[in-house]
């Protein structure tokens, strides 16, 4: 069976991905239940309803208090991109950290960009362990980007180097 999240090969009877923990069976209850906020009644519409049903009765303006809204998901404002509230911790690997690419970029590309990539990769796992899913997503994006910067920079440098070698070789054919 192939994991739909990280495309790792897993056992066919697995309940969740061995590698990233992605559940294979839909859970019965949604992971994060966000109660829909009820429409806030405005003062004027409230009064209109009251006047329609009881034309003689008027509420004094000072006595009106809006009905208390049920507690909304308090993290919705802070976590707009995935809507996943912080919890104790998220399973390592549920957000890709691009670790292999960061290691390869650090060890094979000789550029400081590889170090940046691996620091971001470490941030992904640190934030997942701390339950900060969206922070991990942001770091994951940066880890991927800096790995590519590292590979791209090294590619450009090495192509230029081989071009110079080639030209040097043509100018001095006795060298090789």
């Amino acid at each position: 069976m192939k994991c739909p999240n990280c495309s790792a090969e897993c056992a066919d009877d697995a309940q969740e991905c061995d590698f990233c923990g992605h559940p294979f069976v839909e859970s019965q209850e949604p992971a994060v239940a966000t109660p829909p906020a009820p429409p806030l009644p405005t003062t004027t519409s409230q009064r209109a309803v009251y006047t329609a049903s009881e034309p003689t009765y008027t509420i004094p303006e000072t006595n009106y208090t809006p009905p208390p809204t049920p507690p909304d998901n308090p993290y919705a404002a802070n976590y707009p991109s995935s809507g996943r509230a912080p919890r104790e911790s998220y399973r390592a690997g549920s957000v890709p950290n691009y670790l292999v690419w960061a290691i390869l970029a650090t060890l094979c590309c000789c550029l400081p960009a590889g170090i940046v990539a691996i620091v971001y990769a470490a941030q992904v796992d640190g934030k997942l362990a701390a339950g900060d899913y969206d922070g991990a997503l942001a770091s994951s994006k940066n880890a991927k980007m800096w790995s590519w910067i590292s590979f791209g920079g090294a590619g450009v440098i090495f192509v230029l180097y081989f071009l110079l070698i080639l030209m040097g070789g043509m100018a001095d054919p006795g060298r090789y």
């Binding site: 790792a8 390592a92 000789c110 400081p112 170090i115 796992d125 790995s147 090789y176």
Partner: protein
């Protein structure tokens, strides 16, 4: 990152290209066409990847001791990186899968590589062992 259909052939081709170059040319000889580390060339400092070309050359010529002396972290990380790649695309036995999980936390790697980058530039024994050569 990219799809396995692109990455796997790319990695295989890159590996054989590098192996071919290293069997053809000796990075220890002056005037070899293999690229030096641009970071070392610019700054005179060793980066975490310095010595990787010579280490790979030594490995391909059956000299693991010399390979370790050139870049120990690179040599030791090679099989782990191969394992992490394999876990992405192949069905691995549970033992290897546990090893994969053990190695896939990036935080120890970051400490290791940054520490290695700093320590191998210290000129004193035993840190001088970490410098290539």
């Amino acid at each position: 990152m990219a799809t396995p259909k692109v990455v796997i052939p790319g990695l295989v081709i890159a590996f054989f290209l590098v192996a071919l170059l290293l069997l053809q040319f000796d990075p220890n000889q002056a005037g070899n066409p293999l690229p030096p580390c641009p970071f070392h060339w610019l700054t005179g400092l060793y980066c975490p990847g310095c010595g990787a070309t010579r280490a790979l050359h030594a490995l391909l010529h059956g000299d693991p001791g010399k390979a370790l002396s050139m870049n120990p972290v690179f040599v030791l990380a090679l099989p782990i990186v191969a394992l992490l790649f394999a876990a992405k695309w192949l069905k691995l036995p549970p033992v290897l899968l546990r090893a994969t999980k053990f190695f896939s936390d990036a935080r120890p790697w970051a400490w290791l590589l940054i520490g290695f980058a700093v320590l191998r530039n210290l000129p004193w024994y035993p840190f001088s062992l970490l410098a290539p050569g």
